[in-house]
Symmetry: C2
Subunit: 302 residues, 2 copies
C-alpha cells in the first residue's frame, strides 16, 4: 500500500476507511491500470496471491477480479500460488486454481445420488492459465495438478531453483554428486514427458531464478522440454544478461518476470507524465532489452 500512487489510495480510503476493503479496492484499481499499461509489451501477468491473502476475503476477491481483467485484455495469467500438499489435498488446490475440462456443466440430476454429490462444482474465480507449485511432496503431490492441467491445457511451473538469497540452504544440498535442485529438475522432465506440444515444450515448466545465472544455464540443459519461469529480474538483482541462459537456441523456452521494477517504475520520478506511462515505458523497455539479448536487433527473427 505504501508504494501505490497517492491519489488512488486516497480515493479508496475516502470510500472505505483504512480497511482491508479499501486496500482491496486500491489494489484492484492499480492492477487494472498496470494491466492496461503493460498489455502491449507483455505475454502474461503473474499476480502473487500472498499479497491479496493478507487482506482476507476482500483481498482474494481483488485477486479474482485481477485475473478476470487480465484475461479480458488477452493476457495469459500465471497464478503465483506455490501450492503443495498430499494427493487428496493437492486435488482441491488444483480445482481452486486451474480450469477443468472445457465443457463440464453440472449434471442436472436429482439430489441424493452419490455421483451427483461427488461432482459438486468448484468455484472458478481463481482459475489461471498456469500456476506455480512446490514439489516437496513428490509425484503424488504433483499428479493432481498435472491431471487437472491436462484437462484444460493449463500449465504448471514447479519450483526448482528459487531466486532468494537463502535458496542454496536446501536447494543446493549435495545429493549423490548433484545438487538437490537438479534432482527436482529430473522429476520435472519426467512429469512432463507425455504432455509435449508441437513446440517440443511440455505443460510442466519450472521456476528458476534470474539471480543464479549458472544454475539457470544448467537447468536449461537439464530440462530441455520445460518452459522456464524466471523471476528475480529488477528489484531482486537479476539483469537481462543474467537471464539469457534460460532461453533455447531459438530464443524461446523462457518467460521472464519483472514485478516491482515495472509496476512501481513511476516511483523513481524519471520521465514525467502520468504514472501509468512510466509503467508502460518500463515494460516496453524490458521487452526490447530481452528481445535484443535473445534475438539480436529487433525484427531480425520471428
Amino acid at each position: 500500500m505504501d508504494l501505490m500512487p497517492d491519489d488512488l489510495v486516497e480515493r479508496a480510503v475516502r470510500a472505505c476507511g483504512r480497511t482491508p476493503a479499501a486496500a482491496a479496492r486500491a489494489v484492484l484499481e492499480f492492477n487494472r491500470a498496470v494491466i492496461d499499461s503493460v498489455e502491449p509489451a507483455a505475454v502474461a501477468v503473474k499476480p502473487q496471491i500472498a499479497f491479496y491473502e493478507a487482506f482476507g476475503c476482500e483481498g482474494l476477491r481483488a485477486y479474482a477480479e485481477t485475473i478476470g481483467h487480465a484475461r479480458a485484455r488477452g493476457l495469459l495469467v500465471i497464478g503465483d500460488v506455490k501450492r503443495n500438499d498430499i494427493g487428496s489435498t493437492a486435488a482441491a488446490y488444483a480445482q481452486a486454481h486451474l480450469p477443468g475440462p472445457p465443457a463440464s456443466p453440472p449434471a442436472p440430476l436429482p439430489l441424493g445420488e452419490g455421483r451427483v454429490r461427488a461432482a459438486w462444482p468448484a468455484a472458478s474465480e481463481f482459475h489461471a492459465d498456469a500456476i506455480t507449485i512446490n514439489a516437496l511432496f513428490g509425484s503424488d503431490g504433483v499428479k493432481p495438478f498435472l491431471e487437472r492441467a491436462r484437462q484444460s491445457g493449463a500449465g504448471l511451473f514447479v519450483l526448482v531453483r528459487t531466486s532468494n538469497p537463502s535458496s542454496a540452504e536446501l536447494q543446493d544440498l549435495d545429493c549423490g554428486g548433484e545438487p538437490f535442485y537438479v534432482r527436482v529438475a529430473a522429476l520435472v522432465e519426467e512429469w512432463g514427458a507425455c504432455d509435449r506440444g508441437a513446440s517440443g515444450y511440455s505443460l510442466v515448466g519450472a521456476v528458476a531464478g534470474a539471480t543464479f545465472p549458472a544454475a539457470l544455464r544448467r537447468l536449461r540443459q537439464a530440462m530441455p522440454h520445460a518452459v522456464l519461469l524466471v523471476p528475480g529480474l529488477g528489484a531482486q538483482g537479476g539483469t537481462v544478461a543474467d537471464v539469457t541462459g534460460a532461453f533455447d537456441a531459438q530464443g524461446r523456452g523462457a518467460i521472464v518476470n519483472a514485478s516491482r521494477s515495472v509496476i512501481y517504475a513511476f516511483r523513481d520520478g524519471a520521465g514525467g507524465g502520468p504514472w501509468q506511462q512510466a509503467v508502460r515505458r518500463a515494460a516496453e523497455s524490458l521487452r526490447c532489452e530481452l528481445w535484443q539479448a535473445t534475438h539480436g536487433a529487433l525484427g531480425t527473427a520471428d
Copy 2:
C-alpha cells in the same frame, strides 16, 4: 461434499442451489457440529485451507468462520496452509495467517505520511494459533513467519517428513550420508533455538507423518525442542502404535492429528444415534488410545 450428512447438504442446496455458496454453507454447518462434538476430546483443530479455496471466496469465508467457531469453543487452531515463498512474500503470508503483536491499533495519523501507509492493517480473519509452512526457500522464506509468530506467541510447523507415499522421492534423498529431511530437521532446531518456553519446546515445530514410524523416532531425537505435528493417522494408514515415537519420555511434545477417521466416523454406520455422536465417540476413543499408548492406563500421569 459427497461425504457429509445428507440432510445438511440438502438444506444448503435448497437455500443456494448447487453452488459454491451452498458448499460453503454446508461445510460451515458441518464444521460447527464437528467442533462442538470433538471439543471435549481435542486440544486443537486443523482446518485444511485447500478444501475451502476450491470453493473460492465463499469457501474462504467459511474457513475464516470455522476458525472463529473453534476459538470461541476454546480450541487451538492450526491453519494447515503450507505456505512458502521468498522473504517479502512470506511476510505477506505471515500477515494473512498469523496474528501480530497483541496491541496494534492502526495509528490515527493523517494520510500521506509514508509510515502510516506502510502500517496499513492486514485482515485478521484467517489468523490461526499456528500454521504449517514449507521450508524449501531456506531461512529467508521462514524468518518472516518466525518474526510474526514471536510477536503473538503463535506457532509454526515446518514440513520435515510428510505422510504421503511419494514423500521419499525428494525428502529421502541422500545428502552427504543423511536424508534430506534430517537436514531440514537441523534447520528447524536452529530456527527455534531462541524461542523456547518453560516446557523446553520452541515455537518452531515440525510436521512428521504417522505413516513412517522409524522416521518419526529419528526426528524426535533430531529435534528435541520441536513439537511434532503428526498427520496420517486413520484414513492414511497410520496407527496409534506408529505415533508413540513422536512423544518424549514424559508423553509430551507431539500433536497427533486425525481428520477423515474422526469427522466422517458416522459413515461406517456403526453405533446408531445422530451423526454427531459417532464423531464425538471417534474423537474420544482416539484420545483414550493415545493417552494409554503414551502414559499407560488413564489417569496415572498428569
